[in-house]
Structures are given as structure tokens and as C-alpha cells.
């Protein structure tokens, strides 16, 4: 296998892009990434997206985006793995370059949620990530499923709802300095406590906002990275694991087994442990997800993920900084694009380009992208130039 490096990044601002289409957003991110890498074309384009068919009435988007991005003729494929679609596309790109099939690959994540005709439509579309026969059938939304998990977590571990507030406060504090974030402003614990409920105990402030956005990275073999850029960031681990889609089918609904497995596989590939990771872009679609992911990846003991936030360990100067550019909660969660936003932000951190959000001496960064409530979990570890 060949080493694989990221030699270009691009992203659009996350938000409600009423004036741009899915193809325009993707083209903007891809053009920025190619420009940074000093390239005009690549061998392949892999697009991560979850809901273009359901929300934008458009499938076959890899060829569409290739065409509009000026890449007609290129190999182009769409990858879908619910919320982790972007990370899944990166996994495919990584395999193509590492395996020697491709020399330069564009990986783009894109989602256009504002094309949904109503919030109810968007919610129903997102629920497609759950088990249709046994969860969605009952009318359970993604928020309701996570509410089941959060309520059980609070009961089993003696945690109160307000104990989750610091995940949200941390994410918004970091987003305030991110020009690409959807909500670049801090929030207080009081605001968290006053937020309206979506599905008790999950409130608006526990939940990442649906959004539009696109992000892209350029991959090439490590031994050719110097031709493109001086800031090549190496992918030292790429791992996928799966679990049942339905939370009731899991051995323990409060343990994200796929998160554990993908993290362990990633640690093994990189030859490191959780203590060696300098920052972690966690999948905080809901505050409960952040807590469960931190525990599954070995950053906290079972039931202690919330304590990590309370003790300041997730801050930029903490033991394991998370959501360093706002996370899903405050940067925004353009579903199929989120996994690539996490990678773009890690690259910025590892290059030392994160401005006031810079994590000092960041050498190894990890990103974990979770599909649905944990049916697919994809972990990548990147190394500084």
C-alpha cells in the first residue's frame, strides 16, 4: 500500500444557501481544493451525499458534479452511508490511491437540505438512516431516537440534562472564529437550558442544525505530495465499522460498538492509542452522540463522556480538544458533507492554519463520522506535515 496525503482543501460556508444549487456548492468546494493543490484535474471524483434524491430530486450526482466542475470524462461515483457519506467517500478515495489505482483523487461531500419543502420533509428524509421497518415506521425521527438514548444515559449514569450543556457551549465558542460556520457566535449555559424541546430530553441546543454546504479534499500518493503543496497532511489511518441500524438490536444501546471498532482499527493502523491523539473532530450531531463517541474511542470511561466536558478537557487547551472549528452543532451539519468538513478542519489544524482556534503542537488529529445512530462509523487519523 502507498502512503496517501491530502494536498488541497476547499469548503463553502455552511448555512442556508437559497441562491445556490447542489451542483454549484460542490463546484465551489472542488475548485478551491484543486486550486490550492495546484491542479486542474484529477483521475477520479468521489462524492459523499445522503439525500440528493430525496430532498433535491436529483440522483446520479457524481456525473452531474463532474460535468459542472469542468471534469467531464473523469471517473465519478457517489457514495452513501447516511450522515457518514462524506467520510465514506474519503475512505473510497483513500483506497483508490493507497491501492495504486489512482494518483490524484478529488473527494467531495455535499448536501443541500434547504431544497426540502418543509422541516417535516427534511426530518422524514433524515430518518431514512434509521431502520425503516422497526424505527421509522413508528414515526420516530432522528431526534427521537437520540432522545431515547439520552434519557437512558441520564438514568444509568446519574447525569442531568444540563450536564450536556458544555458540549454546546464549547462548540459555539470555537465556531465564533470560523468564517465558514453556520452559527459563529457563543451561547451560554442559560441559553442551552431555555432552548425549546425537540424530543425530550433532546432540545434545539442539543441538536446540530440541518444546513447546506460542500467541502472537498485532494488526495495523492505521499511520495508525490511535494509536487503539489508544502502542507501535505498524511492519512495514517482509515477505518470503517458497522453495527445494527436499529438501536434496540444492539447488545447495549449505550455503547457505540461500531465507533469502538473503527477507532480501534484506526489506532492499530496508525500504531497509536487514544492518548496520542492531539485533537478529535467528534460527530456531535446530538450532545449524547458526542458523549458516546468519546467513550467508545477511549477518551473517557463508560458514563464519563459528559464529565470530560464539565472538566474542560474538550476545550482547545484541554486534554482532548473537540469541535475545534464549531463541530456539527455550530459549524453546521450538511449531512453528507460533514465528514469532509471534519477532514478539512483537521488539515487546517495540522498545518497550523487554524488561527485563534489553533490547538498547540497538534501532530495527530482524528475525525469520526457516524451514520444514523451508529450503524456506520468511519474513523480517520491524520498526521501533521
Amino acid at each position: 500500500m502507498r502512503d496517501v496525503s491530502i494536498v488541497g482543501i476547499g469548503q463553502t460556508k455552511v448555512g442556508e444557501h437559497w441562491d445556490k444549487s447542489l451542483r454549484q456548492l460542490a463546484t465551489e468546494a472542488i475548485s478551491a481544493a484543486l486550486s490550492e493543490a495546484g491542479l486542474e484535474r484529477a483521475d477520479a471524483l468521489y462524492v459523499g451525499n445522503m439525500l440528493s434524491g430525496e430532498v433535491s430530486a436529483q440522483e446520479h450526482i457524481a456525473a452531474l458534479i463532474a460535468d459542472f466542475a469542468g471534469l467531464r470524462g473523469i471517473e465519478a461515483l457517489k457514495v452513501e452511508a447516511a450522515d457518514s457519506s462524506g467520510a465514506a467517500a474519503l475512505r473510497l478515495g483513500y483506497m483508490a490511491v493507497a491501492g495504486g489505482l489512482m494518483d490524484t483523487v478529488i473527494v467531495c461531500g455535499v448536501e443541500k437540505m434547504t431544497d426540502a419543502v418543509s422541516s417535516a420533509t427534511a426530518g422524514a428524509a433524515l430518518a431514512l438512516a434509521a431502520d425503516s421497518d422497526y424505527e421509522t415506521l413508528h414515526g420516530l425521527s432522528s431526534a427521537a431516537l437520540h432522545a431515547l438514548l439520552m434519557r437512558r444515559y441520564m438514568y444509568e449514569h446519574g447525569v442531568k440534562r444540563e450536564d450536556f450543556a458544555l458540549f454546546t457551549v464549547n462548540a459555539h465558542r470555537n465556531a465564533a472564529s470560523n468564517p465558514y460556520a453556520m452559527f459563529p457566535r457563543p451561547v451560554t449555559t442559560e441559553a442551552f437550558l431555555k432552548a425549546p424541546m425537540i424530543a425530550d430530553p433532546v432540545s434545539l441546543m442539543d441538536s446540530a442544525p440541518l444546513a447546506d454546504g460542500a467541502a472537498a479534499v485532494i488526495l495523492c500518493p505521499g511520495d508525490r505530495a511535494h509536487r503539489c503543496t508544502t502542507g501535505a497532511v498524511r492519512i495514517v489511518a482509515s477505518a470503517v465499522a458497522t453495527d445494527s441500524l436499529a438501536i434496540h438490536d444492539r447488545r447495549d444501546p449505550l455503547f457505540l460498538e461500531a465507533a469502538y471498532l473503527s477507532a480501534q482499527r484506526a489506532y492499530q493502523q496508525a500504531g497509536v492509542g487514544s492518548a496520542d491523539i492531539d485533537l478529535f473532530e467528534v460527530h456531535d450531531a446530538f450532545t449524547i452522540t458526542a458523549a458516546l463517541s468519546l467513550e467508545a474511542c477511549g477518551f473517557a470511561q463508560r458514563g464519563q463522556g459528559v464529565r470530560l466536558a464539565q472538566e474542560g478537557e474538550i476545550a482547545l487547551d484541554g486534554r482532548i480538544p473537540i469541535c475545534t472549528m464549531g463541530g456539527l452543532k455550530a459549524r453546521g451539519h450538511p449531512v453528507g458533507a460533514t465528514g469532509i468538513y471534519q477532514i478539512v478542519e483537521l488539515v487546517e489544524q495540522l498545518r497550523g492554519q487554524a488561527g485563534v482556534n489553533q490547538v498547540k503542537n497538534a501532530r495527530l488529529g482524528m475525525a469520526q463520522s457516524i451514520g444514523g445512530t451508529g450503524g456506520t462509523v468511519i474513523t480517520h487519523i491524520l498526521e501533521a506535515p
Binding site: Y134, E135, P253
Partner: protein, 97 residues
Amino acid sequence: MHIPRYWRAQSQRYSLNGEICKQCGAILFPPRDICPECREWALEPFAFDFNDNDEIHPLFTHPLEVRGERLPQAMGMVKLGVSHESSSPLAVAETTT
């Protein structure tokens, strides 16, 4: 959003039938034919003891439009009764009083 038509042919939807794995004894709901614990075929029907259900932490939520209505409903993870086993499968279900 519509419900797949094969739903009507799934007997466990009406009678909450499960399956038991003859190889390792795992009790499965919903039926899934291949045991997730030992990967053997588990085709033996299993009837739950519904006097022994243990309901776990329900919540109220607005359902998706798949239900055709958006009135709040009470949902919960319910532990299905298995009188001779300590580990019982869970099911997500609408709870009623």
C-alpha cells in the same frame, strides 16, 4: 413517505413473534434468520411472555409524517418478556397506558 407493502406479510408486526437460535440460545426480535451472535440460522419461532414485559424510559415526541399525523406520541424502548432468560431483546414501540 409510504410504508412498504411487504409490511402486511410480516407476522411479527401483528403478533410480536421472535426467533430463537438453536445453536447459542439467543432470542431475537425482530426475527432476522441469521443469529447476530453466532451466525447460525435461527429459524425457530419464539413466543414472548407478555405478562413479563419491562418497559424502559418512554418519551413523548412528535412523529414523522409517515404516521399521517403529528400529534405527540409516547414511545419507548421496551424489554420483551422472556421468562426463562435474563437477557431479553429490546423493541422500540409506542407505549399506551
